[in-house]
C-alpha cells in the first residue's frame, strides 16, 4: 500500500473529469524575520458537480491556498512550487492578461465578508452588471437585464426596486447572495467559497448553502468550500481535504474520512465537537496549539500534539499513503488511529 500518491495523482488527474487540479502547491510568505512556508506541497482536485471542502483551523493555510489558486496573493506572498491546472491551462505560469480573461468566466471566488467585498459607492446593479459588460462586452442596458435575472436567480426579493440600491441597504444574508451572484454570473467551471457562511446566522446559512448547492448542480460547477466547520463539511461536501500547518494531512470522501479517520489530527478534531456529548461531560480536546509558521517542526508537523508520536515521527516526514480507495493520509501510524 506504500504507493507514492503524489506522483500518480498529478498524471492521473488529466484523465478524469477534473475541473481544477492543484498539484504540489507551495506558498512562501516574506516576513521581516525571514521567509516562511505557509502552504507546503498541497495537492487536491475538484471534479465538476462535486463539492470539495478544504478543512482546517485558523492559520492552517486554507485561505492562502485559495488565494494562490485564484491569483490573489498579497505582494509579500509567492507561489514557490507546484501547479494549478484549470483544464489544460497552468494558472501559475499563465500571464496576467490570460488570468484576467479566465477570472469569473472559468474560475470564481466568494469571500467571507460581503460587507467589505462589495464596493460601497456603486449600486449593486452596477456591480452585478460588471462581469457581463467586461467579459461578454454587453451594452449597459443588456447587462442590466442580465443583472436583474441574476438577482432573481439568487433569491433577492423585488429585484426591480432593489437593483439601484447600494450594498449597505442590504442585510448580511442578502449581501452574501449578491456576492455569490457576481461570482456565478458567467457560469464558471470552478467556484471557490472561502467561509461563505461564517458571518451569517444559522437559518440564513442554511439558505445560502442551499443556494450554492442549487447553483452547483445547475451549472455543473466544481465547488471548493473553504471552512473550519466540521458539521458544515459533513452536510455539504463530497470530499474533504484536511489541512494542518500548511499541509494536507488527510484527504478522501467525507463519509470515509469522518467515519474512520486515518490521521490523528482529523480524529482529534472530530472528538472535539461537542455534539452528542452529555451536559457536563468532559470534552476531549487537542492539547497544545498549532505551531507558528516560523517554527513548524521538521518531519511530521503534528508531532508535538500527537498521542501516537514515536521517534520516527521526529526523524522522518510521513509520506502520503493511500489508506483506502481514494483516501490518503500523511501519518506513519495511520492504521492505529482507529484504536485511539
Amino acid at each position: 500500500m506504500m504507493t507514492n500518491y503524489r506522483e500518480t495523482v498529478c498524471e492521473a488527474s488529466a484523465s478524469r473529469e477534473v475541473a481544477l487540479d492543484v498539484c504540489e502547491l507551495s506558498v512562501d510568505i516574506r516576513t521581516p524575520y525571514g521567509t516562511v512556508r505557509a502552504v507546503d506541497h498541497v495537492s487536491f482536485s475538484a471534479r465538476r458537480g462535486e463539492t470539495v471542502a478544504l478543512l482546517g483551523e485558523s492559520g492552517c493555510g486554507k485561505s492562502l491556498t485559495a488565494q494562490a489558486v485564484v491569483g490573489l496573493l498579497a505582494p509579500t506572498a509567492d507561489i514557490a512550487t507546484g501547479s494549478v491546472h484549470l483544464d489544460d491551462l497552468d494558472l501559475v505560469k499563465a500571464s496576467a492578461a490570460k488570468r484576467r480573461k479566465i477570472a469569473g468566466r472559468e474560475l470564481s471566488i466568494v469571500f467571507q465578508d460581503a460587507q467589505t467585498t462589495l464596493n460601497p459607492v456603486y449600486t449593486v446593479g452596477y456591480q452585478l452588471a460588471e462581469p457581463f459588460r467586461i467579459h461578454r462586452k454587453l451594452s449597459k442596458k443588456a447587462a442590466r437585464v442580465e443583472a436583474l435575472e441574476l438577482m432573481r436567480r439568487v433569491g433577492i426579493p423585488e429585484p426591480e426596486t432593489r437593483i439601484d440600491s447600494y450594498p449597505h441597504q442590504f442585510s448580511g444574508g442578502m449581501r452574501q447572495r449578491l456576492l455569490i451572484a457576481i461570482a456565478v454570473a458567467l457560469s464558471p467551471a470552478v467556484l471557490l467559497a472561502d467561509e461563505p457562511t461564517t458571518a451569517l446566522d444559522v437559518t440564513v446559512q442554511a439558505q445560502i448553502m442551499q443556494l450554492l448547492k442549487d447553483l452547483r448542480s445547475e451549472h455543473d460547477m466544481a465547488l471548493v468550500l473553504i471552512t473550519h466547520d466540521l458539521a458544515l463539511v459533513s452536510e455539504e461536501a463530497d470530499r474533504v481535504v484536511v489541512m494542518y500547518a500548511g499541509r494536507v494531512v488527510e484527504e478522501g470522501p467525507v463519509g470515509e474520512v469522518f467515519g474512520s479517520p486515518k490521521h490523528p489530527y482529523t480524529r482529534g478534531l472530530l472528538d472535539s465537537v461537542p455534539a452528542g456529548a452529555k451536559r457536563g461531560d468532559e470534552l476531549s480536546s487537542i492539547g497544545g496549539k498549532p505551531p507558528e509558521l516560523h517554527a513548524i517542526p521538521a518531519a511530521c508537523v503534528y508531532q508535538d500534539r500527537c498521542p501516537l508520536v514515536q521517534d520516527i515521527c521526529r526523524a522522518e516526514a510521513p509520506s502520503d499513503r493511500e489508506v483506502a480507495v481514494d483516501h490518503r493520509a500523511a501519518c506513519h501510524f495511520s492504521e492505529k488511529v482507529g484504536l485511539l
Binding site: T203, A206, Q207, H228, A231, S272, A275, R279, S285, I286
Partner: protein
C-alpha cells in the same frame, strides 16, 4: 420545584430605544416582554439570531442599560432601584466574559494588571497588595495559566489563553453569575473544547451561574441546563435543554435545530429551511412576530399575539398558536 427564589428573575422586561430625531422619532423595541430565570449554579443558554435582543438583554442585566419596563430581580433585589455603594456591590456579583479575546483585553496592561483591575474599583475585596498578588496567582492557576504569566502582555498569549485570562478577570470579584457572550465562537475547535471544559470545571468548583449567549447549538446542548430561544425581542420558547432539543414546541426552535449543520445529519429528518430573514424590530409583524417566516402560520397569527402552549411539563414553555408537535389547524 425549588422553594428558594432563583438567583435571577426577569419578568416582562422591555427596553425601548428611541431612533431618529424630533418628529421622526420612532421606538425600537429591542426587548419586548422578556421572561427569564437563572438559578444558582446553573447554566442557562440564550439562543437566537443576530438582532434578536440577546446582547441588549445582557447589557440590561449588567445595568449598562436601564430597563424601560418590567422587572429584574437579582437575589431578590431589583438592581434598577440601587444606587451608589449598593449598586457597586451589585456590580461585583455579576460579571461578563466577552466574545473577542483580542479586543477585550488591554494590550498595554500585563495579565496580572488585567486580572487585578476590578479590585481598583472594588477596593474592599483584597485591600492588601500581598493578598492581591496571591489572589492573582490563584486565579491564573484556576484558569490553567502559570503564575509567571502574570508578567506577560495579552499579545504574548494565544486566543484560548486570552479567553482564559478574560475568565480570570470575570472571576476576580467572586461573582454569583457570569454572562458569557459567545465566549468560544472566536476560537478554533480544539481550543474551544478546552475553554468549555474550563467553564464547566469552574462551575462545579465555585458554583457560579452562567448566562451563556451562543448561536452554536451543539455547544449550547453541551453546556446548558436550560435554554431560552429568543426571536425579535421575546423569549419564544424556554425549557430544559434535552426537552427543548428533543421536543421543540415553537416552529422557530424547530427550524433553528433543523437548520444547524450537524455531524450526524443522517439521523435528522427533513431539513426545514426558513425563507427570509429576521424582520426589523422597528417595524415588527403584528400578532406573532415569527409569522412572516413561519410555514405553519394562519390568519390568527397575524391578528393576535400568540398564546402560551399548553405545557406538558410546566418548566417547558413556548408561545405559539400552532406548536410544532400539534397538527396544523385549518384556517377557518
Amino acid at each position: 420545584m425549588s422553594t428558594a427564589h432563583p438567583l435571577l428573575e426577569v419578568r416582562d422586561l422591555t427596553k425601548v430605544f428611541p431612533v431618529g430625531h424630533g418628529r421622526h422619532t420612532r421606538d425600537l423595541k429591542a426587548l419586548d416582554g422578556v421572561n427569564l430565570e437563572v438559578r444558582r449554579g446553573e447554566t442557562v443558554a440564550l439562543v437566537g439570531e443576530s438582532g434578536c435582543g440577546k446582547s441588549t438583554l445582557a447589557r440590561t442585566l449588567m445595568m449598562l442599560e436601564r430597563p424601560t419596563g418590567g422587572s429584574v430581580r437579582f437575589d431578590g433585589v431589583d438592581p434598577a432601584t440601587l444606587s451608589g455603594s449598593e449598586l457597586m456591590r451589585f456590580r461585583r456579583r455579576i460579571q461578563m466574559v466577552f466574545q473577542d479575546p483580542f479586543a477585550s483585553l488591554n494590550a498595554r496592561m500585563t495579565a496580572g494588571a488585567i486580572v487585578s483591575e476590578p479590585w481598583r474599583t472594588h477596593r474592599s475585596l483584597y485591600p492588601s497588595s500581598r493578598d492581591r498578588a496571591a489572589r492573582v496567582r490563584e486565579l491564573l492557576h484556576l484558569v490553567g495559566l502559570r503564575p509567571s504569566d502574570a508578567e506577560k502582555y495579552p499579545q504574548e498569549f494565544s486566543g484560548g489563553q486570552r479567553q482564559r485570562l478574560g475568565i480570570a478577570r470575570a472571576l476576580a470579584t467572586n461573582p454569583d453569575m457570569i454572562i458569557c457572550d459567545e465566549p468560544v465562537s472566536a476560537l478554533d475547535l480544539s481550543v474551544q473544547a478546552q475553554v468549555l471544559n474550563l467553564l464547566n470545571d469552574l462551575q462545579r468548583e465555585l458554583g457560579v451561574a452562567y448566562l451563556f449567549i451562543s448561536h452554536d447549538l451543539s455547544v449550547v446542548r453541551h453546556v446548558a441546563d436550560r435554554i431560552a430561544v429568543m426571536y425579535l425581542g421575546r423569549v419564544v420558547e424556554s425549557g430544559a435543554t434535552e426537552a427543548a432539543f428533543g421536543r421543540p414546541q415553537h416552529p422557530y426552535t424547530t427550524a433553528l435545530m433543523s437548520a444547524a449543520p450537524s455531524l450526524d445529519h443522517a439521523k435528522r429528518g427533513q431539513r426545514i429551511i426558513l425563507s427570509g430573514e429576521i424582520p426589523s424590530p422597528l417595524n415588527p409583524p403584528s400578532g406573532c412576530r415569527f409569522r412572516t417566516r413561519c410555514w405553519r402560520a394562519t390568519d390568527v397569527c397575524a391578528s393576535a399575539p400568540p398564546v402560551e402552549v399548553d405545557p406538558v411539563d410546566p418548566s417547558h414553555t413556548a408561545e405559539c398558536f400552532h406548536p410544532t408537535n400539534a397538527p396544523v389547524a385549518s384556517a377557518s
